[in-house]
């Protein structure tokens, strides 16, 4: 080269303005975990504006709910956070049971807690694996999916379905646990704990992972509350709110477990919180199995809500009529309104049920934690690099099925 390269002097750089670039990430982009679109305005590689575009997976679940009986809506709850359908089923069932003023027996509660915690482990494993991929660690995904597969085997044995379980019914469950199933869950937990340590060991002190996540996407305590964040994202920011502890339902008060809380609120803290939550879930599962109560697994007094067993329907007139009324007119609910939130893997999943009486809800609002958790993105992404946005999305661990409903 004839002329040597020299850096321009700083005064000239200050005057040199770049044009803002607009970039669309998604709706089908591997790191947006579903059909989320982020509309960026970029200055070089720095995000100056971020506008999340959601709704690609909107199915009108709330409209559908207004047009079917309470029982018919149970399978739709599977498809909200489809990584933890067992926990969704339970949250919906408890909300409607509150409306019906129905108490379910201890065994039913214990099974629900057990399955919800298994769902939490499964959801966090997926979140972890996907987060790993987002930050360049493939191996975690392979390990965590192997464990998830084992959980799915157990779900399949329990509910007949691996994915869309529809297990909790209003006033009870789809069926009792199979013979020897709790023992197999116990065995899973025993072998899972060392593997979990191995999986977390791949990330926790991993230099690359820490470089990608420490100090990235920091959410302050005040912001976390102002944006209505819940679940691990809120706890990662140092707010020790967990509805299982603070507003116990389904007998969570009987079990001993700790609530992990982050200190800085960055992506790394959110990862640490999820890792610890899985250990705590195993703790809860072990306790549930240790004092697994006997007795009925559905509310025996809920004859107008919970469907009678098939053998009774086929042999007894009374049960046949009952079943017929349940199918045609739905479970008859008193008028009134209730709001119930459960601590799901992604945060607080709430159901606001407005009833005018009868078998169909007048209005059913689903308060989706992923929706609220994503609402902080316009604030969170500004000022970070595009590649950091990928890490931030992975650390927020959202599901579009729930966000868009």
């Amino acid at each position: 080269m004839a002329t040597e390269f020299s850096f321009p002097d700083t005064a000239a750089v200050a005057e040199f303005e770049t044009e803002k670039m607009s970039l669309s990430m998604g709706p089908s982009h591997p790191s947006t975990h579903g059909v989320l679109r982020l509309q960026f305005e970029l200055d070089g590689e720095i995000v100056t504006k971020c506008d999340p575009v959601i709704g690609y997976l909107h199915r009108g679940d709330e409209k559908i709910a207004e047009n079917m009986t309470y029982n018919q809506f149970v399978p739709y709850t599977d498809r909200l956070d489809y990584l933890a359908p067992l926990a969704n089923n339970m949250a919906y069932a408890i909300a409607v049971e509150k409306l019906a003023k129905l108490e379910v027996p201890a065994r039913c509660q214990a099974i629900r807690v057990l399955t919800a915690e298994m769902a939490r482990i499964s959801a966090h494993l997926l979140g972890l694996g996907a987060f790993g991929i987002d930050t360049g660690a493939w191996t975690v995904f392979m390990y965590s999916f192997t464990e998830r597969e084992k959980l799915y085997k157990l779900f399949e044995e329990l509910t007949g379905a691996r994915f869309t379980t529809s297990y909790s019914r209003i006033g009870g469950l789809q069926r009792d646990v199979p013979e020897g199933w709790t023992g197999r869950v116990n065995a899973f937990c025993d072998q899972f704990l060392p593997i979990l340590e191995e999986i977390l060991g791949l990330l926790t002190r991993n230099k690359i992972f820490m470089d990608r996540t420490v100090g990235v996407g920091t959410i302050s305590k005040a912001d976390a509350i102002a944006y209505g964040l819940t679940g691990p994202n809120l706890r990662g920011s140092g707010v020790g709110l967990d509805l299982r502890k603070d507003k116990p339902y389904s007998g969570y008060e009987q079990y001993e477990f700790d609530i992990p809380v982050g200190t800085k609120g960055d992506s790394y803290d959110r990862y640490l919180v999820r890792g610890e939550e899985m250990r705590q879930s195993v703790r809860i599962i072990k306790q549930v199995i240790a004092k697994f109560p006997d007795g009925p697994w559905y509310a025996t007094d809920a004859r107008k809500i919970f469907a009678p067993s098939k053998d009774k329907i086929l042999t007894s007139m009374e049960e046949l009529i009952q079943n017929f009324m349940l199918v045609t007119e739905g479970p008859q609910m008193p008028p009134g309104e209730v709001y119930f939130e459960a601590e799901n893997p992604k945060g607080a999943l709430g159901f606001y049920v407005v009833s005018k009486g009868g078998g169909v809800p007048w209005r059913l609002k689903i308060r989706a934690p992923s929706f609220c958790n994503l609402s902080i993105l316009p604030k969170l992404c500004v000022g970070s690099m595009v590649s950091d946005v990928v890490a931030i999305l992975g650390s927020l661990d959202f599901v579009m099925g729930e966000c868009d409903r």
Partner: protein, 209 residues
């Protein structure tokens, strides 16, 4: 129960127009639209209801007045209690309430969703656009007069429409609720098929209102 009932009393002392609302679980109050921001701010700052968990609305059906009720659910991260604040929209034709997005940043998306689904305007909202449906969608799907089958609507992208002629079509299906009307003797009218929203020779396709 006494601690929560105290909130309603305290609210009523400060805002005489606040009335208790029937509820099966948490404490609930009815608040006039003009006072809602003051009430929410009081609950947040003086009563530690610092987490706005949800904003939504109820459509009490066409012809009912007040037709729309906006419902806020607040939670306290310190006292661990819920409170429900309900606001009846004064105008049934053009429902509007003031926006709470100045109090909680998270209200922004909730109010956008409520606007998107019910057409309730939130006064002072910084960015009241549709959120789940696309920009320019002409209907409010969660209103009771919106049929379950949907309404035929042109797609948002004019280029795509010109090229393909595609549009969002209504789902020809039996309309809900998928449940028999109780107490009817005439089974043809009682069964779910009577609410059929699909179309045939005898019944015209629902058109845009």
């Amino acid at each position: 129960m006494s601690a929560t009932a105290a909130v309603t009393t305290a609210l009523q002392e400060k805002f005489p127009q606040v009335t208790p609302r029937a509820s099966l679980d948490h404490e609930a109050v009815n608040v006039p639209a003009g006072e809602v921001l003051a009430v929410l701010q009081f609950l947040r700052d003086d009563r530690a209801y610092d987490l706005l968990v949800d904003v939504t609305a109820i459509d009490w059906a066409e012809g009912v007045s007040p037709r729309f009720t906006v419902v806020y659910h607040l939670f306290s991260t310190t006292n661990h209690g819920y409170i429900r604040v309900a606001v009846n929209c004064p105008d049934d034709g053009a429902p509007a309430v003031p926006s709470a997005s100045g109090l909680w940043a998270g209200a922004n998306w909730h109010e956008r969703e409520t606007y998107d689904m019910f057409g309730i305007k939130f006064g002072g909202h910084p960015d009241l656009r549709r959120i789940l449906m696309w920009d320019g969608y002409p209907h409010f799907p969660l209103r009771k007069d919106f049929p379950l089958a949907g309404i035929e609507t042109p797609l948002p992208d004019a280029e795509v429409v010109a090229e393909t002629g595609a549009k969002a079509i209504a789902a020809p299906m039996v309309g809900g609720p998928f449940v028999a009307a109780p107490g009817e003797i005439n089974l043809t009218e009682a069964e779910p098929r009577a609410k059929d929203e699909s179309w045939n020779e005898a019944r015209e396709k629902p058109t845009q209102r």
